[in-house]
């Protein structure tokens, strides 16, 4: 694994330039460019806010903010996994013709989405700052949370991109799985709404804990027990699951990588 990291480091410029390409290509030729990436979460936020505060009247204070704090990190995961799934297959011309560490392809997708995520958070700061949230009090926690979530995202993306080479219908499955994951994470609802007998399962989902942290930092502005969750044990379990996913993803990828060129 260390030699893998060393090789990866020597190819860092390729990683950065592919990340840059990813971002450039995404917004090339559109007038609003980067702002389109903000439009998507804003529209989602508006729709859900309408449904939950006006139609269903869930009674959650400032539902828009409540939602967006958890929606943005989840989008980072789901966009990375959805786009990353095709990263090896979609670059068959490269994989077939040139040697470089293959993990650069999914990693560049994750990095591009991470940068997107940063910009979205910056936009969020402006909005909640104007609305008077003291988001800066626990801001020092944010890099830590993002850091650990990053490993989860990388692990999932590596796993999916490698398996997709061998099982092409995974691509379709992923969209469904990500939808289930979305509703299985307290994003449009608070954890307290979940019946106690199901809470255990919801808490095993690492995104539940990460979302709670984002929400504690931005929405509740309380730490450590914004909404009485997560506890230290729950956090540690999440970190454990995160690293299991990361290592499984990494080793599956490494194991399959030598057969990529033959399969696509």
């Amino acid at each position: 694994m260390f030699s893998g990291i060393k090789t990866l480091f020597s190819y860092r410029e390729l990683l950065f330039s592919l990340t840059k390409k990813e971002l450039k290509v995404k917004y090339r030729g559109s007038a609003l460019g980067f702002f389109w990436s903000l439009l998507n979460p804003i529209l989602t936020m508006l729709v859900y806010s309408f449904v939950f505060s006006i139609v269903l009247r869930a009674g959650i204070e400032q539902f828009a903010i409540f939602l967006i704090c958890a929606l943005l990190p989840f989008n980072f995961l789901s966009n990375s996994v959805n786009y990353g799934a095709g990263s090896i297959i979609g670059n068959s011309n490269l994989v077939n013709k040139i040697y470089f560490p293959r993990e650069i392809l999914p990693l560049s997708i994750v990095l591009a989405n991470l940068i997107n995520f940063f910009f979205e958070i910056a936009a969020l700061f402006i909005v909640i700052g104007i609305m008077g949230y003291k988001f800066y009090i626990y801001l020092y926690l944010l890099p830590v949370v993002i850091f650990f979530q990053f490993f989860l995202v990388v692990g999932m993306t590596l796993l999916v991109s490698a398996l997709n080479v061998f099982f092409r219908d995974l691509q379709h499955l992923i969209t469904i799985v990500m939808m289930v994951w979305f509703f299985g994470t307290p994003i449009i609802y608070p954890l307290s709404m979940v019946p106690p007998e199901y809470q255990f399962f919801i808490k095993l989902n690492p995104m539940t804990v990460y979302s709670a942290y984002y929400r504690n930092i931005f929405y509740y502005v309380k730490y450590p027990e914004g909404a009485g969750f997560p506890s230290l044990v729950e956090t540690l379990i999440t970190l454990g699951i995160t690293f299991i996913i990361f290592f499984v993803g990494y080793f599956v990828f490494k194991k399959l990588e030598y057969r990529f060129a033959e399969e696509i």
Partner: protein, 450 residues
């Protein structure tokens, strides 16, 4: 980069063990060919294993090494495993067994402009492509002007590459690739880029690479290029090394192989055509053979798919031979020899004024020469049942080296129907003495005037 070069050259001069740039040790590569394209997840879960597959052996027990500074060519027919071998050396795929040792930075030009994104400009693609090929950004910054100048695309460098012609695309790809400056360069059939002037530029770059002591391994079908550039050539066929050695030897070996193949193909084709003609003859029982009408047919003997003999059977050609002027029977002859080509005919019925003839063809089926007694205006008289006769054609062998087939025939004097026609009954072997080439000996007198 430069320092590394130096160190390799120094090592080379010292004659240390790092003399070898690329070492391939008994490498085999087997591919799996799945009977169904890509198995779906459903299938895998249901059957708990992959769909059935066959193993295809692309390379078998390949061993060779290339020294630093050598230019090594790989030639062979399609499907011989050349590209697989390059991909193995480029680390794109892994050998099934065996080992490949690479000493020094390696760059593979298996495809030009790999990874160009159509929506990005030429300039942006230079950076990405260079990074993919393992070049540092600061090196690209330094060499950017060279790359653009070499590609001759100054005017279009800020245009998205989707608007490029395929030639421009390849030129940009090549310009980036040659500026990567590796120690070991693998090239796959990419020299055919752009117009004549750009091509000569490319060759110059490759010669410069060679002069700078770089190691080059090149796969090409262009044998002239190979024998021009390389110091060593590997001849690959069906996944095995047939031979390796000096370029000219290998190239002529490969040419001989290709010619042999071509010969076989032509013979096959010839056979098929003859079969078609004779089939028409059989079908209608009275049709055309090589443009000549036949009304009486019997005694059709079929050799494989070729009809080798036909005619009424009123006369039968029993034997044929080649003789020296003195009468001694010979197996072969030389250019310029005086020979007698003789065949014996046994008459089964009375035939008046039969026509005796021969036709000489080369291996491609080209008719080299044909004549008969009627064309030569020689009267033959009447033959009765039981008569035997020898027909003798005396001539000088004005044929260049090779094998020639002789078809003798006895025809009726209507010049349309035959008593007996035997295809390719006899072979004349002419020993090659580099007298001439081609079909006809025009025997020119050559003078040089100043």
């Amino acid at each position: 980069m430069k320092e590394k070069n130096l160190s390799y050259r120094e090592k080379r001069m010292k004659g240390s063990d790092n003399d070898t740039a690329v070492e391939v040790k008994s490498v085999s590569k087997r591919y799996r060919i799945y009977h169904e394209k890509v198995p779906s997840l459903k299938q895998t879960i249901l059957t708990l294993r992959r769909t059935t597959y066959e193993e295809f052996s692309a390379l078998r027990d390949i061993s060779f090494s290339v020294k630093h500074g050598e230019t090594c060519g790989i030639i062979g027919p399609n499907g011989s495993g050349k590209s697989t071998l390059l991909k193995l050396m480029a680390r794109i795929i892994r050998p099934t067994s065996g080992k490949i040792i690479i000493n020094g930075p390696l760059s593979a030009l298996l495809e030009l402009g790999a990874g160009f994104h159509p929506d990005l400009t030429g300039r942006e693609n230079i950076y990405i492509n260079a990074a993919i090929l393992g070049m540092r950004k600061k090196d690209v910054d330094r060499k950017l002007d060279d790359i653009i100048e070499f590609s001759e695309l100054e005017r279009f460098i800020d245009t998205p590459v989707k608007n490029y012609s395929s030639g421009m695309y390849m030129r940009l790809g090549f310009s980036v690739a040659v500026n990567v400056n590796p120690d070991i360069l693998l090239i796959d059939e990419v020299l055919a880029v752009g117009d004549q002037s750009f091509q000569s530029k490319c060759y110059k770059v490759i010669y410069d690479f060679m002069k700078n002591g770089k190691t080059i391994i090149i796969v090409s079908h262009d044998l002239d290029t190979i024998s021009d550039l390389c110091s060593k050539v590997i001849f690959l066929k069906d996944g095995e090394i047939i031979d390796m050695g000096k370029p000219l030897d290998m190239v002529s070996k490969y040419r001989a192989y290709v010619e042999e193949l071509e010969k076989k193909r032509i013979i096959q084709q010839q056979r098929a055509e003859r079969k078609k003609i004779f089939k028409t003859v059989i079908d209608s029982n009275r049709k055309v053979v090589d443009g000549e009408e036949i009304s009486r047919l019997s005694n059709l003997s079929i050799d494989g798919e070729t009809i080798s003999r036909f005619g009424s059977g009123d006369a039968e050609i029993v034997s044929m031979g080649l003789f020296e002027k003195s009468g001694r029977k010979i197996d072969y002859c030389r250019y310029g020899d005086e020979v007698k080509l003789t065949y014996n005919v046994l008459f089964k019925n009375k035939v008046e004024e039969p026509v005796f003839g021969i036709r000489i063809t080369d291996y491609r089926g080209n008719i080299i020469y044909g004549t008969n007694t009627r064309l030569k205006k020689i009267g033959t008289g009447t033959f009765n049942k039981g008569d035997e006769t020898a027909v003798i054609f005396s001539f000088k062998i004005n044929l260049v080296g090779g094998e020639y087939s002789v078809s003798p025939a006895v025809g009726y004097n209507d010049n349309k129907t035959y008593c007996d026609w035997v295809n390719d009954m006899f072979t004349i072997n002419v020993i090659h003495r580099n007298i001439a080439e081609g079909l006809a000996d025009l025997d020119p007198e050559i003078s040089i005037e100043r």
